[in-house]
Symmetry: C2
């Protein structure tokens, strides 16, 4: 960057923490943290050795980029609250689930700066592996966001509003729901005094294949091979977990719609 | 092994191929391949440079270990067919879904030698990472199977019939169903002209976390945080895929049973 943009981060949650620290580490220090909660604002600001405020009117008037790193259901409210005090800055949110467009009524220059990764307090993000999905109303702002993403990360994609919401649904399947399948497996083993480690190699193999080829083409198992006997046995074994029977059934029929599975018989 | 056991493999599918080649590679050559289909039997036997037959009566009478590497629904039939010609050998199947007990009526010495991995023709198995789940009616046979598993692999578990069927159900969730979640994600992206690679880093992170900690504890996303607005938006976006709406709904409610999600509104 020729000149450092004045950056304000709104929010003090996981994304705000990781993003602001990364920006600082890459020579792009955040000039101010704004959060509704004084304690959160101060804690993050002190970590970054920067300013903070809980008052929208006190947001730096010279701010050039305002990052709304808040929950989806807070984006609209916080945008309205700060809009009177932010006139010239580019304002972006960091969400995969909310249209960039929701900022259109509040700001002239708006966009999205969405790091596609599930941040946690426990694990340091691997920035080179996080796809940044960026979008902006103005071409110059899009270029700016792409430049920033290239500085703090490696993978940059221009993803428009419509694409991004579907990307987010897809991420829920690939991350949350796949992880829930692992959880159910873990609980089943635990109930029968088997260590979850037993399944670790299979899980590693599953992901390795899915990253290498189309997961749809690589599908194996009783559903894929139409093994109705095994499927019925499995459904019967799950009788103590009717909710897992329902999942097993829906998954199986979606993998192989030609299968004729009768009603679940407890 | 002090003396090499005479091994006969029944079947010529993926497990038979991988297992027989591995046994040979570890100095435990298979003495004979038996398969109902001449072409399959001959092809595998020629690869191994060993004998083959399609006739149960021609199974080597001096066989000491007969491995039934056949589909679940073929185990019982093939066991009955060869039983008159196999009296002294230890007979094991390789299945996670069938009780070892189904062999009890046919053989005195029976058991299970179940490599917990999904074998494919495309990928060479990483033997050191495959858990071998073994069981046998007789203690001496159990020791023998553990010894063999240690020679061709690294991870060996004694898993009884009841544990094994639940392990198999758990494997279906951790492998097939997790993979199906990846498939759905892939299709969603494809429908919106986004590359599946976009989700690769998230998938790697998902598995890395699940291998490190309890996946149930590491759950994130709209369901885990009770974000009903996002969930409703996602369900609406899936209106062209009612079967994925059903899956999304069941997964979400199972992750967070406290969520109040209304009927799916198309």
């Amino acid at each position: 960057m020729e000149t450092l943009p004045k950056i304000v981060i709104v929010g003090a949650g996981r994304i705000a923490w990781h993003l602001s620290k990364r920006l600082k580490g890459k020579g792009l220090p955040v000039s101010q943290i704004f959060s509704r909660t004084e304690e959160n604002a101060r804690e993050l600001a002190e970590t970054l050795n920067t300013a903070w405020t809980t008052n929208p009117a006190a947001i730096l008037p010279e701010a050039e980029w305002v990052i709304l790193a808040v929950r989806d259901d807070a984006i609209q409210g916080v945008a309205s609250a700060i809009a009177p005090f932010v006139s010239k800055a580019l304002v972006t949110h960091t969400s995969g689930a909310t249209a960039g467009n929701v900022l259109a009524g509040c700001f002239e220059r708006f966009g999205v700066f969405y790091p596609l990764q599930s941040f946690s307090h426990e694990h340091a993000p691997v920035w080179s592996k996080i796809p940044f999905c960026v979008d902006a109303a103005l071409e110059a702002d899009l270029l700016f966001l792409k430049k920033i993403a290239k500085i703090i990360g490696n993978l940059v994609y221009h993803v428009n509003d419509e694409q991004r919401v579907f990307l987010h649904v897809a991420a829920v399947f690939a991350n949350n729901f796949a992880n829930h399948c692992f959880s159910i497996a873990e609980k089943l083993l635990d109930e029968h005094n088997l260590p979850f480690e037993l399944l670790h190699p299979l899980m590693e193999e599953t992901i390795a294949k899915a990253l290498q080829e189309s997961p749809a083409r690589m599908q194996t198992g009783p559903a894929a091979r139409g093994d109705a006997d095994t499927i019925h046995r499995h459904l019967a074994l799950l009788y103590q977990h009717p909710e897992w029977q329902v999942l097993y059934n829906s998954m199986t029929l979606d993998i192989n719609p030609n299968l004729a599975i009768g009603a679940i018989d407890n």
